[in-house]
Symmetry: C2
Subunit: 483 residues, 2 copies
């Protein structure tokens, strides 16, 4: 690369002082965002100094800084070229040698040595959590003198959950509610109760991986229908009919991982398709309360279009409230609710009483929780989106109106490699294939935005490094070629 | 029945006053304890008066009282005969017509209209529960700012559990512990992880019904070995070997439901048999901390005889602490613990954080909990045993040295009928066949003694009625015959 070429990429010299430090930072930025490919031979110091109109000493100092930071390597007679900075070991054993490591050097991770986990899309508890815990503890003595087993869930919690559905236009009695030990447990119970091995189940692609796991364990035949660009209900209806599906699993509200929100007309059509195909529609409302504008009108629940007990709704406290509360629930017909209660006892007998009381308190103040979540998730979403646009401008994504994740298209079918490299570089993300049935979606990663903006920024910096690393792989590192 | 015959049964006239009331009470007692069979024609008033040396008015008043209470029916020209008092409807729909009901009368249940549930052997929380909850709530903020998922369980709880095993002579590291959402969940996880459909599993007969349910769901081939009279390890070893068992499930401490305690020598022999048969020994210590004399020397844990990772131990907070806490755990090798953690995530992700913190606090004060449980269970055991000896003297049982239940042999293969009748009469008990693999054990019922002594007494009174009812069934009620 010639001096003038790099000078153009740099856009001249920054006004920051000292100049050498500003120059080093700018070159680092070009490496991080990919405009300066790895293994690019840098211009000779005097050529770049001339092109930028700075002293050769300044460029020498900048290259020294970049060498110290691990972005440049030099060898006598071969000049200098761009490289990745050194890596830290992730909690998991790295699968390959660290790229900087083979040259015998060890640098710290640029900013922060803390491992960032974007694998798990779940936030800490809301600020009123302590008050809800205190109120629940006050209630506890009413229960703790008895055996503590309520396989269907505490009546007082089921009442509040039923009232919540009624307020959303779905009249519901408490005997239509089964409290479960989290949404995943709810899904496992439904799979065990509604599905036999070999039954066809229509699932979204991408969708929640643990739901796929529960269905696979049950021996279901999975029939995926793509939702990357939103729902195509005619396609879903055809899949249900042709596969004689026993069940379809859908996440209509801020779909995990795409963030899509199903329009009301599609909801009506999907319920109608379920009726015609004689299939249960299991609808997962884990994210339904997580609109980024909590005052925006909500889409009607899928169950509001149902008259035949065909829609079975899963709710959860884990995302809206806290994952350390293991409480979810199922809304269905009273007869199926009774079957589910019988089916749950051999699994885990009942759900924890104190958690149920806490969730009840939080549901009674759900508007406060929704407002707090909306504010912090919107901040996180925008910080993540901003960092991606700056550092990984090739990645494409929609800005979701709710939920907790961006679903980013990374432009090449290397998501698994990027996730592996990112793990070594100190950030965990889940690659697209995990959300699919059949190993596709290799050009996507899910990026939750529940962590603080600064942490998200740092995570994206590491992801950018991971991408550079993947782009330079898998060939053994060659000597730099002139670009 | 002649006047003198009944007078002999009555043992004369009580010194209580009024005489008619004492006479009525005595006749009622004879009906309740079965010495006076149902449908027995009572002597004419004048005959009984003469035999007892009381006035005919007194006998008339006593018969009137018995009619009012529902123990005697009369018809002009046919005299008077013994019957069962009226019944109340249980929460469950009764399966047959109420015996008193067809005569159009409605009486209250003799003493108390509250339904007594002896189906579930689990007590309320111990007295230090509130303090443990408060301490746990103080700890909670350290966790509630994070995601709250710890699939293996909180490190601080696993440490305390591991220390508990070490104190019992089984050195244990925290990475050998997996915290589960109750013992039943632990058993389900082990079944899913260790067993394939068709594998043989040796189980005790009788044993914990929900364990049988989990194994059946997994498609295991169940091989029962009787333990009504204690363990015969040679028999168990032979069964393991002949069936090529993959697993044996045992409850060596105050076995559920028999209350038996396995001697140390049998424990050593059983572990040796497992080794020779190459089978896992899953040992359920749910009741191990429930000795009625908490200072008595304890039998060594099964795991203390194991050197090859063959013994897998299940622990639970539900019985010792409170069933409303859904916390159990598994102790095994670190590699199998890792497999179990992977297997648990698709079920329920993780266990509730607050419950884990509460259990940790209670485990740190476990000696206090054990002492309190011992005192109240011993009181309950003796009250139950006393009432049985008085009102159901034909029932046979051993007095267990720990646990929560008597295993009573009722003298005829009618346990299911007795349980059904008892349900209609306001007490739920579990009949023997529920604890077995193959419909045997029809001459046993399990009687937990976790409820207060007065309630247990009332429960036995209702059981006595249920037995009388069963003895008089199933023929349609005939007109009374002279005995």
């Amino acid at each position: 690369m010639s001096g003038p070429h790099l000078a153009r990429l740099l856009g001249g010299v920054s006004s920051e002082r000292p100049v050498y430090a500003a120059l080093a930072r700018s070159v680092r930025g070009l490496v991080l965002d990919g405009r300066l490919a790895l293994r690019t031979r840098l211009p000779a110091e005097r050529d770049l100094a001339a092109a930028l109109g700075v002293s050769r000493t300044t460029v020498t100092a900048a290259y020294d800084r970049l060498r110290d930071e691990g972005y440049v390597e030099s060898r006598r007679g071969a000049g200098s070229w761009t490289v990745l900075p050194p890596v830290r070991m992730s909690p998991a054993e790295p699968r390959g040698a660290a790229p900087g490591g083979r040259f015998g050097r060890a640098h710290p991770v640029p900013d922060d040595a803390t491992f960032i986990d974007l694998g798990c899309a779940t936030p800490g508890a809301p600020s009123i959590f302590g008050e809800a815990v205190a109120a629940a503890v006050d209630e506890l003595p009413r229960y703790s003198s008895g055996p503590g087993y309520e396989p269907a869930g505490l009546a007082s919690l089921r009442q509040v959950i039923a009232d919540g559905y009624a307020a959303r236009g779905v009249p519901t009695r408490p005997d239509q509610i089964v409290v479960t030990t989290g949404a995943q447990h709810a899904f496992t119970l439904l799979s065990e109760t509604l599905i036999e091995a070999g039954d066809a189940v229509v699932v979204e692609r991408p969708t929640y991986p643990h739901a796929l796991g529960a269905l696979r364990r049950r021996g279901a035949r999975l029939v995926p229908v793509g939702v990357n660009e939103g729902w195509d209900v005619e396609l879903a209806a055809g899949a249900m009919r042709q596969a004689a599906a026993r069940m379809a699993y859908t996440i209509p509200d801020f779909q995990n991982p795409t963030g899509q929100l199903m329009p009301a007309a599609d909801r009506a059509a999907l319920v109608d398709a379920g009726r015609r195909a004689d299939a249960f529609l299991v609808t997962d409302e884990t994210f339904a309360d997580l609109a980024h504008d909590p005052r925006a009108p909500r889409e009607p629940p899928l169950a509001s279009f149902d008259s035949g007990g065909r829609v079975v709704t899963i709710g959860s406290a884990s995302k809206l409230m806290w994952g350390g509360l293991r409480i979810g629930w199922i809304r269905t017909t009273a007869p199926l609710a009774r079957r589910l209660v019988l089916a749950r006892e051999p699994f885990d007998m009942a759900s924890p009483v104190l958690d149920q009381l806490i969730v009840r308190e939080l549901l009674l103040r759900v508007e406060e929780v929704r407002a707090e979540r909306a504010e912090s998730l919107l901040r996180g979403r925008d910080a993540l989106a901003g960092a991606l646009r700056e550092l990984l401008p090739g990645w494409e994504f929609r800005l979701p109106a709710g939920g907790m994740s961006l679903w980013a298209r990374i432009g090449a079918p290397v998501a698994t490699l990027v996730a592996e490299a990112a793990e070594r570089l100190g950030v965990r993300v889940v690659a697209g294939p995990v959300f699919g049935v059949d190993g596709v979606l290799e050009d996507y990663v899910r990026l939750p935005y529940v962590l603080p903006p600064d942490t998200l920024r740092l995570a994206v910096e590491r992801l950018a490094l991971a991408c550079r690393e993947v782009e330079s792989a898998p060939a053994a590192r060659p000597l730099p070629a002139y670009v």
